[in-house]
Symmetry: C2
Amino acid sequence: MLERISPENIKDRTLAELTALCDELRATICDTVGKCGGHLASNLGAVESTVALFYVFDFPKDKIVFDVGHQCYPYKLLSGRYSAFSTLRQRGGISGFPKRKESIYDCYDTGHAGTSVSAAIGLSKARDLAQEDYAVIAYIGDGSFNNGLVYEALNSLKIVRTNVLIVLNDNGMSISPTVGGMYDVLSEIRTNGKEENIRLLESFGLAYMGVKDGNNLQEMIEALGEAKTKLSTTSVLLHIETKKGKGYEFSEEHPTDTHGISPVGAPKQREYSQVLGEKLCEMAARDDQVVAVAAAMKEALGLSEFFETYPERALDVGICEENAAVLCASMAAGGLKPYYAVYSTFLQRSFDEVIHDVCGQDLPVTFCIDRAGISGADGETHQGVFDLSYLSLIPNLTIISPKDTDELKRALEFSLTYSHPLAIRYPRTGKVLFEKGDAPLRLGTWEYLHQSATKVTVLAVGERCLRTAMEILRELQTENLDFNVVNARFVKPLDTALLETLQGGHVVTLEDNVLSGGFGALVDQWVVQSQTLCSVKNFGYEDRFIPQGTVEELQSEFGLDKEKIKAHIRSVLS
Amino acid sequence: MLERISPENIKDRTLAELTALCDELRATICDTVGKCGGHLASNLGAVESTVALFYVFDFPKDKIVFDVGHQCYPYKLLSGRYSAFSTLRQRGGISGFPKRKESIYDCYDTGHAGTSVSAAIGLSKARDLAQEDYAVIAYIGDGSFNNGLVYEALNSLKIVRTNVLIVLNDNGMSISPTVGGMYDVLSEIRTNGKEENIRLLESFGLAYMGVKDGNNLQEMIEALGEAKTKLSTTSVLLHIETKKGKGYEFSEEHPTDTHGISPVGAPKQREYSQVLGEKLCEMAARDDQVVAVAAAMKEALGLSEFFETYPERALDVGICEENAAVLCASMAAGGLKPYYAVYSTFLQRSFDEVIHDVCGQDLPVTFCIDRAGISGADGETHQGVFDLSYLSLIPNLTIISPKDTDELKRALEFSLTYSHPLAIRYPRTGKVLFEKGDAPLRLGTWEYLHQSATKVTVLAVGERCLRTAMEILRELQTENLDFNVVNARFVKPLDTALLETLQGGHVVTLEDNVLSGGFGALVDQWVVQSQTLCSVKNFGYEDRFIPQGTVEELQSEFGLDKEKIKAHIRSVLS
């Protein structure tokens, strides 16, 4: 039925037919995610509510913003993207997140938590000013509902004076189980209908409605119909209880493990996060001051064992990156040694706190920045390609990009006695271990991985770029060409002593980061300002948002193409 | 009495003596702020509660974090800084904000809204792990209480499981009157003791206490004593009602105008904000799509008239910079033309939303970035010296720094037909109008303000740097030396056509921004990557946090010293 369903004809279906449609949606999602990877459990839980939304509302005239977007697959399948859905998360294919460029049914791009309520309010305000008539809906999970931006948005409802529908999809989970005060407020409503909590939400200008079983189509259709009617006079919070992973037993039982999954059969790689977790545990055993902080997703960050072994020294504050950063700064001010594990892209949310709270006070917080560089299939909102740029501009901050998982351990060892802010950035997975480098790291020092009598030196940041450099080296050596390869593990401060020795030569920089303000830019500025006579060619990502694809294809396409790098090195060697 | 009071002997004073002390504190604050400028009204309102805090608690053993810090003057005066207080906000003098480097009584630096609760929780957690025994207090105004970070912090109280005292100083104002849903929650408690709102706050793990007159010493001492006792078993929210500007009639009546004031007798300068406001009003009259958004402080941003004239198209969402950015993005997605007026330093809070919501979707939002460059007496947390760096790394974003207030108008005119993200950054005040440039701005084009047959070209960004360049030009012309001066008004994209003509010459870049990742870095990278043969010398701020002082003295000290620039130009000319 799914292939013939449209936003128009779905309204003609019987409840039995719609129930069968839900089964089809689930099967399609399980099948596609098994092949392409993607977000499984949250999408399975959102099936009935999405079908009900199509039944009651008129998309794309009515507009819906999915918070983060981990629940948008059923919506995509029902809005004309069924036939293309098998290209999910692939280069040029269907995105795992809402994308305005993909469909007129997607009115607002999301990817980071907490934007949906603000976005719905803004769209609704635009509608009011244009004196048009349609509904605007924010669809948000209880995990995102913890984010401060949601509070700011709720707080502004009475200021903007516009009516939106907020569907709060409460499955008790973000990636890990949801925690915190607001979640307790919601839980008390769920378990005993606590009136004062409802009235509290109403203080923000929201009419509260609850649905006990958000996976029940009939209930959802009735509730959404009622909410739609109310929207003419008030904003509405429709609080629905759903089951994450619904309809797929393994996922229901393992909602965290099946939140985001890799394609079935994908090779298991060595994870930097696992090394981080093991090393932090080891350090915590030696040093009472070590504490670990995560903003949700402690599992994916490698911290499960740390949280089990040191529960008093481990904090997962939910999807609250700003709070996590300030907690780290203040715990450091109080004498502790905090490690804040976070994805590169999500650290953007803590930018101001990294500047003022951590670096402005020069406090010994270590940022363990995972998924740095191109992260791949999640696309634009999840690439970790800006961190070298937005971090290197901050005074007092040292930045390390280790060359492999062993050097990550040494970087962490370095952090333990380093009494200033430190950022360590690394990709998700590693493939090689480089041979050199058992000595402890010294601040601002690079190392040669290969050195010979040549005027060409490649300065590469991190495992991916070093691997590329070494591969090219081996290939060019077969042509009797040779060049130096330097592990530029400190992006800040630069190893200026080493740079000075490159006078008169040709330098090539490689980084898994945008060119603007990144490592290459730092080298260029140093060369120009020190009046060092050498040529420099920067390789890194051009000034564009990088969409979904495999890491390898995106690297090639957006600026780190191995053949082009090789051609350049060959040209300066000849 | 104030000169003899200490945190120890204050506890021996009678209520009458403490009341007299309050009068002295007020007189000292009014006197000093009149001479040095600073934050007046909020500090006047905090006098009694601060005296009571010293009476009940033991600082510095007990620790207090002032949110933002606009209420910390009485605390500074009572913690050993009375004699130095006359140096308030001056280079090397007492900071207008809490500073750990200044005193052991300051345990955590603040400056941006909403960090205090997180910081108190982190300090409290560090105390718990060290098994020490002292109280940790967050002192926060109702304006800051709107910020999403506070919600994230409250939300994490139950996760961190530590006890803090939050003194919520509710004077009904941030800089403008406080607005929004949470404020209504608090107001309902104030006006009718609404029980369910109290219980809502208690859901977050807080025991609620209220003080009707937070300017009554006796009431405050009793309440704080009770709160201190409770702290052994729970976190406490002590909600006190105070009068902003208390005790100084003019300030009580004009709390917004006396929030932050300039020294008495300081010359009134032409404000970029005023020009912004006038131009936006004019554009709004022509174009229905124009809307203005502010995150508090609409007055200081020049938007008062806009808000009065176009109330339906003007949104002040309180100190919620993230929400403001997403509202702009979504209103743009809905067909409007939003202008987000914001101080440079506060835009850091919207960094992730600028990247994803605005630039990721390539939406026509214009950021009107005020107080860019060194802002002066507010110090480290308020300098607007990072924006060129953190904005230029973002794809799809164009950056203009107009040369004077007239060019600000042309930049805004440019924005009206420009359908992509745009940042316009400018300092608070202007001193000159440059003669050239009535023509409409064209994307990525610079202009010569002075051109002659010389190999030396100064590329200067914004009025301050251009003024410096022109002053040096006039001075060197008396020595029969000459160089070109270019108004590099587009920081992104660079005017590469003009840059190409500088081949073989000497280039000097001037920017009111840090050197890391700023305009000079962009020029350096372009020169190196395009293999253009010219020398470039960058002038801008070194890689340090810039403390308080006058704009002029800080510019000289941190990297934009006119004599050094002149010496450099002279050296390359000779």
